[in-house]
Each structure stands twice: as structure tokens, then as C-alpha cells.
């Protein structure tokens, strides 16, 4: 029986675990906390699929919208697979018990997100991700009962077991035993989500830190499109995070403005006409940033009754966290990092450049190109899990076993020397410094000077990180993860400096045009201390 170890139990990890178990494979599903804590539960808006051609929609249109949204640097074949699988995915999710919202005819209701030609976003009230997670957790439990899926909690990824271009499982930090351990597996599937820690406060979960991507990069795994980072234009700042203020507010007529000489300036409408407030996320974010002013979102004119009927969750959120009654006052909003199009480079079957090492969900980069369409990432998380499981199940190559106990001892020794002593300046502070750097130098609008400054900072942090100790009173994970996070920060800056054009979410004020010769994915690899970047002009990763 093939043994698969999956790291991360959000929607991608759950989907893959279930699909592997369905095919009779043995799964170990690893995450520090249960699935209910994963970022996936925050997804509100919906999941895309063409369910009927009645209104004129077609799978071809979903494919074209996705490719166009991604500015034509996502692979055609993989996107085709994604969109073709979507109707089947919705059917399956429903069968597993996802409570989709339905229309008057009893059929699953659909609406449109930005960048879509038709209404094709299925949703579950305002809690799509949560409802999907609940259904997948139940199904996963069925296979746990059958002994095919084994869950491991309190366990953090440390490094993969890789020898001669092939993966044999992974080393983990076991928080219960406070020790490193090896889980050997024929296949390792990474499903660790996005990279929020690079930017400190974002709209997402604190559990998504990007460490795994950074660590794997240092182990020879290629990364892709790291410069493409999506900002959501309307978020509300609290002490600890940026709360997403749903696009639905603008959908209901919400108007963005700033104040000049005591007067409101509706800048999006001035620039783009009546529908200006609903322009794509990257354009709204960039325009907001350019004003250099405090921006507000006004929906008061709708009146309290309608607000409570149409966008009650936004009303509650603003009142609870900032004491703002949106039926009486405008919401102070600013753009925030929201989604990472870049991540681990994978081929169409979700395998990385390392044999038997796969990546799925937001930690992988494959379907979204330079910009992701709302509703496509939940779809990609489920689909990626299915594709990886299928590929693993069909893989006919020989699996063998290698002994990594010596490496484990060496890692144990390294970890204990770093962790054992007090430090006035624990390594975790570097995480805050790098977030400041990236916010400043890898923001919505970039240029060579700032990117070089950012690189200088991050290089400095990297030069000291291995000399600092971990804070003894914290979980060692918080200490050892910093090197991976810093590495990933350098990857993102390096890719952004490399791409001398503007495309999708990557905007360079010194190269504002989109250029045909750059119409390809960025691939970055690590070799003996060097970060090597290239364009995947030959579409190696599209096969």
C-alpha cells in the first residue's frame, strides 16, 4: 500500500487526504492544529464552477476568464483541467454535505466576482470556506475510522527528506514531545497555505507563514511567480490584523472617496466612470495608493434596514472591531496583502522538480498566473488535492527506503544548541523587521531602488539569523521558522527585481508597460548560496 504524508489540513490537504484514501492509499495528515483553525475557514465569497449553460456560460469562458485574469502566464492545460473539473467538484462537495446556498428553484445559487463574464460563483451564505471544511472534515473522519487516514496534530514541518532528487518523507517538530521526528513516506504532499508572515498583518491566518516554502527552496525545490502578491483594496485595520471588508459592499453601491479641502473626492468614479468602484482589485488598490490620502468607503445611503438585510456580516464586523456603525459613518479602508499567486513550482500533476514531492493549494503556484480571480482559489485547493492523489495513485515507479537517522541526529544537535540559551534579541524579532521591509519595499507599486533596498535589508537579516538564539519560552518552531521566512522574502524581492515589466499584481513604476517577451512564469532556484532566476519560456512546468 502506498503511503502518503500530507502536510497541512486546510481544504487542499483535506481534499487530497480523502482522494488518496478513496484510492486505497494510506495517509498521514499532519498539522499543528485541527482543520477548523486553517485559513480556509475564512474564505467567505465562494467557489467558481460552470454549472449550466443556460445563461450563456461555458467551461471555455471560465478557462478564458482565468487565463486573462492571470495575464496569460498560467498554463493553458492546467487551467483547462481546473475548469473542467469544477462542476464535478461542486457535485462532490454537495454530496459530502456542504450546505450551499440555493435559489428559488432549489438549485445551487451563483453570483459573479470581479473578472468573470457570467455568474459562476457558488457560495454558502457568507461562510463558504467554513461550510466546505465542515463537510470535508466529516468525510475525512470516515476514513480515519477505516484506518486509512491517520491525523497527527501538534506537529510542524521542519524539512523534507530529499536525496538525489527524490523525496522520502519529512522531518517534523513534535510539539507534544518537544523533539524532532521523522515520518517516512513514499510521497510527501505540501498543503501549507499562503505566506502571510512575510507582511505581518494581512487578511489571513497567522498559521500561514511561508516557512515550508522557504525551507524547501533551500533544499533545492524550485519556486515560481513569487513577485505576484494580491492586495485586497478594502480592509479595515485592527491592532492585530487587516479585516476583509467584502467586495459585496461595493457591489451594493458602496463608494470610495477621500477628502480634499473639506470636500469628498470620489476618485474611482472620476477616473473610471459610474462602475469605477468595482474595477479589478489590483487597479483599485493601486489607485488608492497613488492618492496618498486616507480612503473611506461609504455605504450609509443604503440605510440601516437594507444594510442589515444585505451585508449583515460587514455591519457586525465593523461595529465589533472598530465601533463603526456603517449605516451612519464611512469605513476607513486601505489595501492589504490577501493572496499569494506565487509558491512552489509544480507541473500539471502537482509534482515539484523533486520526485515524489507534491504541492497543492495556496502554497503551490500553478493556476492563477499574475492575478487570481475571486472564487478560483478554493476551487484550486480542492482540485489540486484531487490531481495529486490521482497522479500518486497512478505512479508506477519503484519506491524505495533510505535511512535518514544520521541527518536527524545532526538536526537535533543543531536545534538544541540554538534553543538552549537565553538571548537578549531573540530571532523572532527578525520576523517583524522583515514584514516592515516588505511592506515598504515590495508594496503595491515597486521600483528598482526600493527593491534593492529591500534586498539589502533582508540580506542583512539573513546574515545574522543563524547567529541568534531562540527565545526559550517560545515554541522552537517560532525560532527555526524565521530562516525559511527570510529566505522566502528574498525570493519574492529577487523575482520582483528580475521582472522588468508590469503585469497583473506586479506593478513597477520604472517599467509600467506589459511586455510580450515577459509573458512567461518566473522560476527561481537555489544553488550553493545563489538565487538563480529565469523565465519558464519553454513552459517546462506546463507539462
Amino acid at each position: 500500500m502506498k503511503k502518503v504524508c500530507i502536510v497541512g489540513s486546510g481544504i487542499a490537504g483535506l481534499s487530497c487526504a480523502i482522494e488518496c484514501a478513496e484510492r486505497g492509499m494510506e495517509v498521514i495528515l499532519v498539522s499543528p492544529f485541527p482543520s477548523e483553525r486553517a485559513q480556509s475557514v475564512l474564505a467567505a465569497g465562494g467557489i467558481n464552477a460552470v454549472l449550466s449553460s443556460e445563461g450563456g456560460d461555458s467551461i471555455e469562458s471560465h478557462i478564458e476568464d482565468t487565463l486573462k485574469g492571470g495575464c496569460y502566464i498560467a498554463g493553458k492545460e492546467s487551467v483547462k483541467g481546473l475548469c473542467e473539473d469544477a462542476p464535478e467538484i461542486i457535485k462532490k462537495l454537495e454530496k459530502l454535505g456542504t450546505v450551499f446556498s440555493t435559489g428559488e428553484n432549489g438549485k445551487i445559487a451563483q453570483r459573479a466576482f470581479g473578472g468573470q463574464s457570467y455568474n459562476r460563483t457558488c457560495y454558502c451564505g457568507s461562510a463558504t470556506g467554513k461550510q466546505i471544511v465542515t463537510a470535508l472534515v466529516m468525510e475525512c473522519r470516515r476514513y480515519e475510522g477505516l484506518g486509512l487516514i491517520q491525523r497527527r496534530l501538534w506537529t510542524d514541518f521542519y524539512k523534507a527528506l530529499i536525496k538525489d532528487g527524490k523525496c522520502y518523507g519529512s522531518v517534523f517538530f513534535n510539539e507534544a514531545r518537544m523533539d524532532l521526528e521523522i515520518i517516512y513516506a513514499d510521497y510527501l504532499v505540501m498543503a501549507t497555505g499562503g505566506q502571510n508572515a512575510l507582511f505581518g498583518k494581512t487578511t489571513g491566518s497567522t498559521l500561514c507563514d511561508g516557512y515550508a516554502q522557504g525551507r524547501l527552496f533551500l533544499q533545492g525545490v524550485e519556486l515560481k511567480n513569487a513577485e505576484f502578491i494580491q492586495y485586497h483594496p478594502t480592509t479595515l485595520e485592527t491592532q492585530q490584523k487587516m479585516l476583509l471588508v467584502s467586495e459585496a459592499v461595493r457591489g451594493e453601491g458602496g463608494r470610495l472617496y477621500y477628502v480634499e479641502d473639506g470636500k469628498r473626492v470620489y476618485f474611482m468614479e472620476d477616473l473610471y466612470g459610474e462602475k469605477g468602484n468595482l474595477m479589478p482589485r489590483d487597479i483599485v488598490s493601486r489607485t488608492m495608493e497613488r492618492t496618498g490620502k486616507e480612503i473611506y468607503l461609504d455605504i450609509t445611503f443604503l440605510g440601516k434596514k437594507e444594510i442589515l438585510k444585505r451585508i449583515p456580516e460587514v455591519y457586525d464586523l465593523c461595529l465589533k472591531y472598530r465601533g463603526i456603525d456603517i449605516s451612519r459613518e464611512s469605513i476607513p479602508v486601505s489595501p492589504s496583502v490577501h493572496f499569494f499567486m506565487g509558491g512552489i513550482a509544480v507541473r500539471n500533476n502537482h509534482e515539484t522538480n523533486i520526485k515524489n514531492l507534491y504541492a497543492i493549494g495556496e502554497c503551490a503556484s500553478i493556476y492563477h498566473g499574475a492575478n487570481r480571480l475571486g472564487g478560483n482559489s478554493l476551487l484550486a485547493a480542492v482540485h489540486g488535492g484531487r490531481v495529486a492523489a490521482e497522479s500518486i495513485s497512478e505512479d508506477k515507479s519503484e519506491t524505495d527506503v533510505k535511512n535518514f537517522e544520521k541527518d536527524l541526529e545532526e538536526e537535533r544537535r543543531k536545534l538544541s544548541t540554538r534553543w538552549a540559551s537565553e538571548s537578549e534579541f531573540p530571532v523572532v524579532y527578525l520576523e517583524d523587521l522583515v514584514a516592515e521591509t516588505l511592506k515598504e519595499d515590495l508594496g503595491i507599486v515597486r521600483d528598482e531602488e526600493r527593491l534593492l533596498n529591500g534586498l539589502k535589508d533582508v540580506d542583512y537579516y539573513l546574515s545574522v539569523v543563524e547567529k541568534l538564539k531562540y527565545d526559550k519560552s517560545e515554541m522552537p518552531y517560532l525560532g527555526f521558522s524565521v530562516t525559511g521566512i527570510l529566505t522566502l522574502a528574498k525570493v519574492a524581492l529577487t523575482c520582483a527585481l528580475f521582472r522588468k515589466e508590469s503585469r497583473g499584481a506586479h506593478y513597477r513604476s520604472d517599467y509600467p508597460e506589459t511586455k510580450e517577451e515577459w509573458q512567461a512564469a518566473t522560476i527561481i532556484s537555489y544553488d550553493d548560496g545563489k538565487f538563480n532566476v529565469r523565465l519558464d519560456s519553454e513552459n517546462v512546468y506546463e507539462s
Binding site: 485541527p34 475564512l42 517560545e474
Partner: protein
């Protein structure tokens, strides 16, 4: 203000109380306050003694993942949505959830929740929507965070060995209303691990951060039995 925290250094260590001074800010949540205390270069307790960082669990920081459930001034609540302005007095007391094993400080091991669900095979298996199912109630019940607040507050829930608590009733309803094969089995488990032990104090409904109408799930389960 004074912050009193029940601390524990490791799974096997003895718990102890430690107090900190904190300049109260009305708009801070308890989660924000913990972050701020931890961010101090050298955390010191009220007597000026160096103190280790305070361990607690979080993920979403907006009341949607259940990670930060703890006992605040004697009441089980989510730290990321409990505001200091709503707390009375100038001392806030924070303890870990007491019905679960404390791993460290405010971090507890809630795996008994999923273990119990696994024990009784709580899953849909074959999907068959029952005509008695109610979309709105299913949507509400499926929002359960598995945070454990309803178990903490329940006078009947002890350690989860026999009585599984309100969250179990909601999951039973989710299965009974949609499973073609598991209905009988789950009705039996519902009887022995919930119905028999519930004294209908309904404190679970008040404390639920998702405002799940558990009573409605219970009513639907009871009706199904008739």
C-alpha cells in the same frame, strides 16, 4: 490594570498564578493584550521578576476559528473578540479552558472532541437529504468552530468520556438530516452520548460564538425519534 494569568510551563509542570501590570486600552481585545505583553523585550511580572512569554493559541484573530478560546474573568470566551472595555473592574483573570488538558499556559489539547466524533463514526457516508431537513439550521450547525466553549460552560460535561456535549448534538443533527446509511447509528449515539445526559441548562447556546441554535438541533433530533 492588573492581569492575572494561570500559567503552566509544560504539559507536566505544576500550574501557578502570575500577575502583570498593563495599561488598559478600551479598544484592545484580550488577544491583543496578550500579544502586546508578549512583545515586550523582557516580560516582567508585577513584582519585577522576569517572566517567560505567555503561550496561547490563535489563527484568524476575528472570531472565526475557535483557536483562542479561554476563560476570561470566569467566563469561557474567545480572546480575540473579548474587549477590555467590556470587562468589569481593574483586574482581568485569564485561565485555560479547564475541561481539557493544559499543554502550556492558555494552550489546551481539545482532541477529545474529534476523538469522540470518530469513536461513534460521526459521518454522512451515503448522502440522502431528508425531507425534514432545514437548510438554515444545517447552515448554522455546520458553522461550529469546535472551540469547546459549550463544553467548558456545560454543567453536565466532565471529561468527554460519556457525555459529549452540545457540539455533538449539532453534528448528530447534521448527519441525521443527510445520511442514508448512518441515521440509526447516529440516533443511538445521540441518545447515549447526549440526550441522556443533557439537563437543558442551555448555557451552551449563550456562550456559542457562532450563535448556533442548539436547541433547534435538539428539537429536530427529538422529533425524528418519535
Amino acid at each position: 490594570m492588573k492581569v492575572r494569568i494561570l500559567r503552566k510551563q509544560s504539559p507536566t509542570a505544576e500550574p501557578y498564578w502570575q500577575e502583570f501590570l498593563y495599561e488598559k486600552k478600551d479598544n484592545r481585545t484580550v488577544a491583543g493584550m496578550l500579544d502586546e505583553l508578549n512583545y515586550k523585550d523582557n516580560l516582567k511580572d508585577i513584582n519585577g521578576n522576569p517572566a517567560p512569554g505567555i503561550q496561547w493559541e490563535c489563527s484568524c484573530l476575528q472570531g472565526m476559528c475557535g483557536g483562542c478560546a479561554m476563560v476570561i474573568n470566569g467566563k469561557p470566551a474567545l480572546a480575540c473578540e473579548t474587549f477590555l472595555r467590556d470587562l468589569k473592574g481593574d483586574t482581568v483573570t485569564i485561565e485555560p479552558l479547564k475541561k481539557f488538558f493544559t499543554v502550556a499556559d492558555l494552550v489546551v489539547d481539545r482532541s477529545v472532541i474529534s476523538e469522540n466524533l470518530k469513536k461513534v463514526n460521526a459521518c454522512i457516508e451515503e448522502y440522502k437529504l431528508s425531507d425534514k431537513a432545514d437548510h438554515e439550521q444545517m447552515y448554522s450547525a455546520a458553522k461550529c468552530l469546535k472551540c469547546g466553549l459549550c463544553l467548558e460552560v456545560c454543567p453536565n460535561y466532565k471529561d468527554g468520556r460519556n457525555f459529549f456535549g452540545a457540539l455533538f448534538a449539532n453534528d448528530c443533527y447534521l448527519i441525521a438530516s443527510r445520511s442514508g446509511t448512518q441515521k440509526e447509528e447516529i440516533m443511538e449515539s445521540y441518545d447515549s452520548h447526549f440526550a441522556k445526559g443533557c439537563s437543558k441548562s442551555l448555557s451552551c447556546e449563550d456562550v456559542c460564538p457562532m450563535k448556533i441554535p442548539t436547541l433547534a438541533s435538539i428539537a429536530r433530533m427529538n422529533r425524528r425519534k418519535l
